[in-house]
Every structure is written in C-alpha cells, then in structure tokens.
Symmetry: C2
Subunit: 116 residues, 2 copies
Amino acid sequence: MPKKDQSDIEMLRGTLDMMILRTLVGGDAHGHTIAKIIERGSEDVLEVEQGSLYPALHRLEDRGWVSSYWGASENNRKAKFYRLTVAGKKQLLRERDRWRQMTRAIGLVMGEESLG
Amino acid sequence: MPKKDQSDIEMLRGTLDMMILRTLVGGDAHGHTIAKIIERGSEDVLEVEQGSLYPALHRLEDRGWVSSYWGASENNRKAKFYRLTVAGKKQLLRERDRWRQMTRAIGLVMGEESLG
DNA sequence: ATCTCTCCACTAGAGTTTCTATGGAAGACA
DNA sequence: TGTCTTCCATAGAAACTCTAGTGGAGAGAT
C-alpha cells in the first residue's frame, strides 16, 4: 500500500464529515459500508481510514447530525447503523454550499489557465 | 468582524501554501502583499490571517520552495520579499494537479445533482 | 517634536482533524 | 481448532490554522 502523501491529508481536511452525511442520504448504513461507498464513489482516489472514520461518526453523532442503532450487517455481523437526522440534512446542505464557495474562491486564486 | 466558521477553517487546510506559491508566479512579493492578492483574488471570500501566513512562508522557505531577501515595500517600509524557486514551481504544479484530482473525487462523491 | 495610524514581521499556545498502530469480538469456512 | 474477513474502537503523534498578542518603523497631522 503506497504511503499517503502529506498534501492528500491536508486537502481532505473537513470534507470527510460532509461526505459521510452525503452517503447517508442514500439510506442508513454502518461504518464499513460508508467507507466503501466513499472510496468507490471517488473512483478509488480517496481512502477512508478506520482511524478517521469512527472518530468522525462519533463526532457527527455528538453534534446531532446522525443517530445510530445496532443491527446486523449484510454479512450477518453485528454493526452499528447510522441515520441522517433532520438537523444532519440541513448541515449537509450548509457544508455543500460552503464547499462550493470555497472551491470556487480557491479556483479564482489559482487561475483557470496553465502555469507554464 | 464576523467570527470564522469552523467549516471555513477546515476546508482551507493545505491550500494556503499552494495559493502562496501561485501568487508568486506573478513576481516577487512580501507577506502583506501576498495576503492581499489572495484575499482580493478570491473576491474577499478567503481571509489570510497573519498567524497563518507567516508560519506558511517560513515553512515554504524551509522546504526550499521559496527564497527570501529584505527590501523596501511600495510604501517604503522594510519588507521581506519572497521569490518562487525552481523547486517551488515544480511543487506548485504538483499541488495544483493534486488539488484538481481531490476536488474532482470529492465532487463525484457529493454528486452534481441537488440533494432535495 | 509628538501622536497616531498604517504597514510589516513574528511568536506562543490552543484547538481540530487525521494519521499510524493497535486491540478485540464474532461469523464463515476448511 | 485455526484462520480469514468483517466490524468497531481508542491512544498518541503529527500537521495546520486560529486567537491574541509583541514590536518596529515610515507617514501625516497637529
């Protein structure tokens, strides 16, 4: 497995929570599945480490953006499922708008044209 | 002055260095000017705090992406000018490509369509 | 001359997120 | 029984930005 580049780490900051919320729009899911959906959805460009994923899920639950319950996974293992709350949906829209505004602003600074 | 939102902070992570390097493509500049160029270039969406800017400049210099020299500013004040090095130009291209790849990947996950 | 404003550089400490590296429990299967 | 895979979880380190300051020096007004 290739070593993660530092720039990857930094550029992903703050986007994991948003992508988790987005994933849950498609229905309740547990951690392992959420990670797979994000990874495959990004054409395997993004990697979701467990050490990032679970703290993020707990963070989202603490803030009330998601709720959780125990159930059985597709493979019949015990798994904690997460559900997007009403507040979480609003948060997702806020974060998506913010993401668009920020990437647009950075795009303006970086310029659309070639740098030589 | 409005309080900075946490999401702003996170989404800017890792992009400041890239934007500084990009700014220096237009010619040598000192810290104060670099900040203004980025802020105005982003239509004042981005704010560059001094507490972020100067550590970033020192970081870039340590890594060899920029070099520095003392001079006089446009207002005849003492100012430390920064110049993009050859290695810095290569780094800028790497970071720009990475930025494009990451934003594209995140865009795929977030979906282009409305969320309702 | 002195005061005040603006420009310009710099630093310490706190806060947040992510990483690496583990540990552990439980079903599937040979 | 033993091993593989799935699934959850945490500790400690690393990195960057923020807030909140310090300090100096030129410019212009009084």
